[in-house]
Symmetry: C2
Subunit: 256 residues, 2 copies
C-alpha cells in the first residue's frame, strides 16, 4: 500500500466535453487524485501527432480539490506533454485515455488519438492504457466499461508494464461480457475511403469514410475477434516500432 494517493492523468481524443471522459473520471474517482488535460474539441484520428507549427494554449476549467480539469487546443499527445511539463511538474503514476466513443481495434491503433496519448505515456515509462467502447451509439451507456476500467487501474497501479509497452483496451457494448483476452492487433486495412462532393462553387472536396477489411476474420487471437465475440480485448502495444523479425529480409534487400 502506498501511503499517499496515486496521481492519475486522464485524457482523450473526443474532447473535454465528451461523455466518455467524464464516465472514466467518475469510475476511478475513489482511486487517486485525478488531473484531466483534454483537447478543447474532437481530435479523432490524430494518432501521435504533436503540434509544432503554432503555440498551444492551456486553460484551467475546474478544480474541486480532487479532480482538476484543463483543456488545450492541441492533440492528445500535446495534452500529455503539457500536463507533465506545465501542470504536474513530473510524471503521474498512471495515464488513462478515453473512454473513446467507438472501436480502436485492428489498424485503428495507428490512427487513434486515444492511443496516441497512451503511446506517449509508454515513451516516458508511465503505465498507460487507452479504453474504447465499441459502439457507434452517439450517447452510449458507459456502464459496461466500469469493471474493466477499475480492474485495469488497480492492476497498473500495482505492477509495472514492460518498458515501451502500453495497453489498447477495447470493450464490447454488451451487458454480459464473457471475459478478458490478451490479443494481437488484427491485420487489415480500410477501403472505399472517400466520398467526393461538389461545393456550391463547383469545386470538389473529399470526406473520409470507408469500411474496414479484416484480412483474417477467423483468427481467434485478434482484438477484432475478441470484441466481436463478446470479450474485452487487451492488446499490449509498443512505441518501439522496430520490426525485429524483418531484419534478415531487410539485410538481404540491401545485400548486407
Amino acid at each position: 500500500m502506498k501511503d499517499k494517493q496515486p496521481l492519475i492523468l486522464v485524457t482523450n481524443d473526443d474532447g473535454i466535453d465528451a461523455g466518455g471522459i467524464h464516465a472514466l473520471v467518475e469510475m476511478i474517482s475513489d482511486m487517486g487524485r485525478i488531473v484531466v488535460v483534454a483537447p478543447d474539441g474532437p481530435r479523432s484520428g490524430q494518432s501521435c501527432a504533436l503540434t509544432v507549427s503554432r503555440p498551444l494554449r492551456l486553460t484551467p476549467v475546474a478544480d474541486d480539490g480532487h479532480v482538476a480539469y484543463y483543456k488545450t487546443d492541441g492533440t492528445p499527445v500535446d495534452c500529455v506533454k503539457l500536463a507533465i511539463n506545465e501542470i504536474l511538474g513530473g510524471h503521474p503514476d498512471l495515464i488513462l485515455s478515453g473512454i473513446n466513443h467507438g472501436s480502436n481495434t485492428a489498424i485503428s491503433t495507428i490512427y487513434s488519438g486515444t492511443m496516441g496519448a497512451a503511446y506517449e505515456g509508454s515513451v516516458i515509462g508511465v503505465p498507460s492504457a487507452g479504453f474504447s467502447l465499441c459502439t457507434h451509439d452517439v450517447s452510449p451507456d458507459f456502464g459496461c466499461c466500469r469493471e474493466m476500467v477499475r480492474r485495469t487501474t488497480n492492476a497498473l497501479l500495482e505492477k509495472p508494464l514492460p518498458y515501451s509497452v502500453c495497453l489498447n483496451i477495447n470493450i464490447p457494448y454488451e451487458c454480459d461480457i464473457k471475459g478478458v483476452r490478451i490479443c494481437r492487433q488484427a491485420l487489415g486495412y480500410w477501403t472505399e475511403e472517400y466520398e467526393k462532393r461538389i461545393d456550391p462553387r463547383g469545386q470538389s472536396y473529399y470526406w473520409v469514410t470507408g469500411r474496414f477489411v479484416n484480412t483474417e476474420p477467423d483468427a481467434d487471437d485478434t482484438d477484432s475477434w475478441a470484441v466481436a465475440n463478446g470479450y474485452v480485448a487487451v492488446v499490449p502495444t509498443s512505441c518501439d516500432r522496430t520490426a525485429v523479425d524483418a531484419f534478415p529480409a531487410v539485410k538481404r534487400l540491401f545485400s548486407l
Copy 2:
C-alpha cells in the same frame, strides 16, 4: 524485368514546396512514372494523423507527362489515401516519403509525418520507405542522399518487404558515408519540452521545443548511433504495434 515502368508515389511532411521532395523526385526521375501528392504546407509532427473532422481538397499542380504533382490540405497519411483512391485508382508499386529536412531517428518515428506516410503504405502492402537527412541546415545539399535513395528504390522494386513492414532511413549529412546499417530504433524521450511565453494581452502560450535524451548512447545497434557515427541507418518498422514479448507480463497483470 517488368515490361512497363513502375509507378512511384512520392509524398512528404514538409510540404510540396520543400527542397527535399524535389531532390527526391529528381534522384529517381529515370526509375519510373512518378506521382507526387504532398501537403500544401508543412505537416511536421503529424504522425499517422488522418483528417476526419473536415473534408479535404486535392488540387493538381503540374504534369509534364512523366511527373504529375498534386497538393492537399491534409496530412501525409491523407496524401497517400487520396492518391490511391482518387488519383491512381489502385496501388502504386512503391511509396517514397521525404526527403525529410531533419532526423527521424529514435522515438521521432512515432511523431514523424514522413514516417506516417510510409506506415500507411505498409498497411496496404505497398513497399514503402521514409528518407530523412540528419541536419538542421534549412537549405541543405541533398546530394549525399542520392546513392541511398536510388539503391533503396531499386531494391524495393525488385524484392518485397515482409507484410506490415516499411523502412525508416536516416542519412547523415556527410560526403563520406561509411555504409549502411540495419538498426533498431534507439530508446529515449524528449525533455524540457515547452517554452512558455506571454502574449500582448497577458495570456500564456506554449511553444514545443525540448531536447532528445538517448537512454542508451553507447549501444551500437541503434539508428541514433549509426547516424552519429557516419552510417546510413535503416530501421525496419511496422504498423503492427502488438508487443508480443509483453504477453506474459500482461497476462500476469490481469491474473490470466
